[in-house]
């Protein structure tokens, strides 16, 4: 295994959802107009706009806007979380990875899943019992509002911005490829629709868009996987045997490949994936849409089940693509590569098992998936601006419902415009590092602050701000100096920092920073904060005093 290949693979690992976007860049050509895909997509847009209109009538307060009034059930929220998490690029990216290297694809999907149990055991119910609209509410529960909210809202915006740009660029390329639309037209359509959903329908519309998309995606993926299993007579062993016989890497697809030689990368990546999930602001925000801790726990269970099931499907789809697509010249170019790149593996497979109709359906689902993910991100970015920065920092908590709601809608519009512009600006750029960076920042800033504020009495404002700030700075700096940016974006020969995943280092810095600057903090503020811990602990454990469904 060459070093270059190793690095490329670890880049793909951390930036998996954008692995799709990354690989699509620059090489995509416009497809023929696909009428079935367009008809199905228009049906999806029509339905979601209708839902948005219905939701708009019910979105009257900030509690409605940020948290759908707390009226979502655990099952619905579980599906919506799964919808938020299963991005188009992770569907296409993971199946592409399995298609390209077999077993390694499975390693990555496992990494994306294992954060969920941790969220369940350590975060979900305390978060629900303590917070109101954003995870920052929890971090700021007993710490000083202005500094902690400013830091946490900034890191939220950093996470949202990178994730959003990556999705927008991926969306533009993918839609160009699948629908035959212009790149910038595609980006504008995505941007406008996401603003409409969020601005008018708030969390209620966003949640239902996620639910519908999750059902469509799970349904489509289940069908394809079923057809693959039918092809191999429902025998995994036969699936593996057939795949080995046609894959260029033969037996090598049956064991670990690219990650093997570098334990530090593997561990660092594992940390960022596991704890990054537990620090993603748009995911954490979903816990406030349910009425209490009991429903929050159910949400995580359903979400874990759906996401786990989905990853098992993508693994079957990847192997199915090896058998049914990789050896069929219809889907290959002159050099024997897949038409449109490896990320098209699942799309071609849809065609192979279900003809034009299934191809159209999967294309429409991919588009819908992107829309749903960007809507969730936009809402959480808008909440950081209007709830954390405007209402609680700028206006010091003295702001009425109408005013805050208005600001959040303006923030949504502004984020939409910025997302469209950046999506167009970054068209030809390599954005493969951006999702990895988003996960690293979430794991190194949001997660340490959140978990320590809930579990460690000794955390002070100073510790949280310095530690979180250091985590943010380390994650960003190491990513820039690492192979994904230094080599692939700036074009230097060798990276200054050798690993793609900075998680191991930036998380260590963040936790050490929080600890050191807390224990050396002997201010009066620090002792006040410690004194508030017991009340916070009791509320987080029992829900007594928590904001309920109606009293948000």
């Amino acid at each position: 295994m060459s070093l270059r290949k190793l690095l490329a693979a670890s880049a793909a690992a951390i930036a998996l959802p954008v692995h799709a976007a990354g690989a699509l860049e620059g090489t995509t050509t416009k497809a023929e107009i696909n009428p079935i895909a367009i008809a199905m997509f228009l049906a999806f847009v029509g339905l979601t706009l209708f839902i948005t209109k219905w939701a708009a009538g019910r979105t009257k307060s900030r509690a409605d806007f940020y948290a759908a009034g707390g009226g979502i059930t655990g099952f619905q929220n579980g599906l919506a979380i799964a919808g938020d998490y299963m991005s188009a690029a992770s569907f296409l990216g993971i199946s592409a990875l399995v298609f390209g290297s077999g077993f390694d694809g499975l390693i990555y999907s496992i990494g994306f899943l294992v954060g969920w149990p941790i969220i369940m055991f350590l975060i979900a119910e305390r978060l629900r019992n303590l917070g109101k609209f954003t995870f920052v509410d929890v971090a700021a529960y007993r710490l000083k509002q202005t500094p902690i909210r400013t830091l946490a809202a900034s890191s939220t915006l950093v996470v949202v911005a990178f994730y959003l740009i990556a999705q927008m660029v991926g969306a533009g390329q993918l839609i160009k490829l699948l629908f035959g639309l212009d790149y910038s037209t595609a980006v504008v359509i995505v941007g406008v629709l996401m603003v409409v959903y969020v601005m008018f329908g708030g969390m209620l519309a966003t949640t239902w868009v996620q639910i519908i998309k999750a059902v469509l995606l799970l349904g489509g993926a289940s069908f394809i996987a079923f057809m693959v299993m039918r092809h191999v007579g429902f025998s995994f062993d036969r699936m593996f045997t057939e795949a080995i016989s046609v894959h260029s890497k033969a037996e090598a697809i049956m064991g670990p490949g690219a990650l093997v030689k570098d334990p530090i990368s593997a561990i660092s990546l594992g940390l960022a994936l596991m704890f990054g999930t537990a620090g993603l602001p748009h995911i954490l925000m979903r816990f406030f849409t349910v009425k209490d801790a009991k429903e929050a726990r159910k949400s995580v269970f359903y979400a874990t089940g759906f996401i786990g099931y989905f990853y098992i499907l993508t693994f079957i789809i990847g192997f199915g693509a090896i058998i049914l697509v990789g050896s069929n010249s219809v889907y290959l170019d002159e050099k024997g590569g897949l038409l449109g790149g490896n990320n098209m593996a699942a799309v071609h497979l849809a065609h192979a098992v279900g003809g034009e109709v299934m191809l159209g359906f999967i294309s429409a689902v991919a588009f819908a998936t992107i829309l749903a993910v960007v809507a969730g991100l936009t809402l959480s970015g808008a909440a950081a601006v209007s709830h954390d920065l405007y209402a609680n920092v700028f206006a010091r908590g003295k702001v009425d419902d109408t005013k805050e709601l208005k600001v959040s809608r303006m923030a949504t519009l502004a984020l939409g415009v910025v997302a469209i512009l950046l999506g167009i600006v970054f068209e030809k750029q390599n954005v493969a590092f951006m999702v990895g960076l988003a996960f690293a920042v979430a794991a190194s800033t949001n997660f340490p602050i959140l978990i320590l504020s809930m579990f460690w009495k000794g955390l002070t404002t100073r510790g949280a701000v310095v530690g979180g700030g250091l985590g943010l700075a380390t994650a960003v700096t190491l990513t820039v100096l690492g192979p994904a940016v230094w080599v692939k974006v700036f074009g230097y020969e060798t990276p200054i920092f050798p690993y793609d995943a900075p998680g191991l280092f930036s998380m260590t810095v963040a936790f050490l920073g929080c600890w050191l600057f807390s224990i050396t903090d002997s201010s009066a503020q620090a002792s006040r904060e410690a004194a508030l811990f017991e009340a916070q602990l009791v509320r987080s454990q029992t829900g007594i005093g928590a904001s309920g469904a109606a009293s948000h």
Binding site: F103, I107, P256, L259, K294, F301, T304, Q541
Partner: protein, 104 residues
């Protein structure tokens, strides 16, 4: 929350039982999940040949059932937690709510 109420809850035997039991379960399950996941990652990093070993006569290697096993473990563990927390622990919580007359 008034200090008096807070102290009453913090000393309540039901509260102590709830937090003790739930923390123990949460940390145990967290430890299991971390051990399973990082065990898998460390195998990949240091003993990849173990994962390449064949299972039975066919082409299937040990890595696949183990990988799928990690996914199923994650789902199973969250299931165990929900089952305990939404049943036994929520009954304790409800009793506590009744006692202090706090809103749900």
């Amino acid at each position: 929350m008034p200090t008096e109420l807070l102290e009453r809850i913090a000393r309540d035997p039901h509260y102590l039982e709830l937090t003790r039991k739930r923390s123990r379960l949460a940390w145990t399950l967290t430890a299991i999940m971390l051990a399973v996941y990082y065990g898998f990652i460390l195998l990949i990093a240091f003993a990849p040949d173990v994962l390449r070993q064949k299972v039975g006569e066919g082409a299937t290697t040990l890595g696949f059932p183990m990988g799928i096993g990690v996914i199923l473990t994650a789902i199973l563990l969250t299931g165990i937690y929900v089952w305990k927390a939404n049943g036994e622990y929520d009954r304790l919580t409800a009793r506590l709510h009744e006692k202090v007359g706090g809103q749900p």
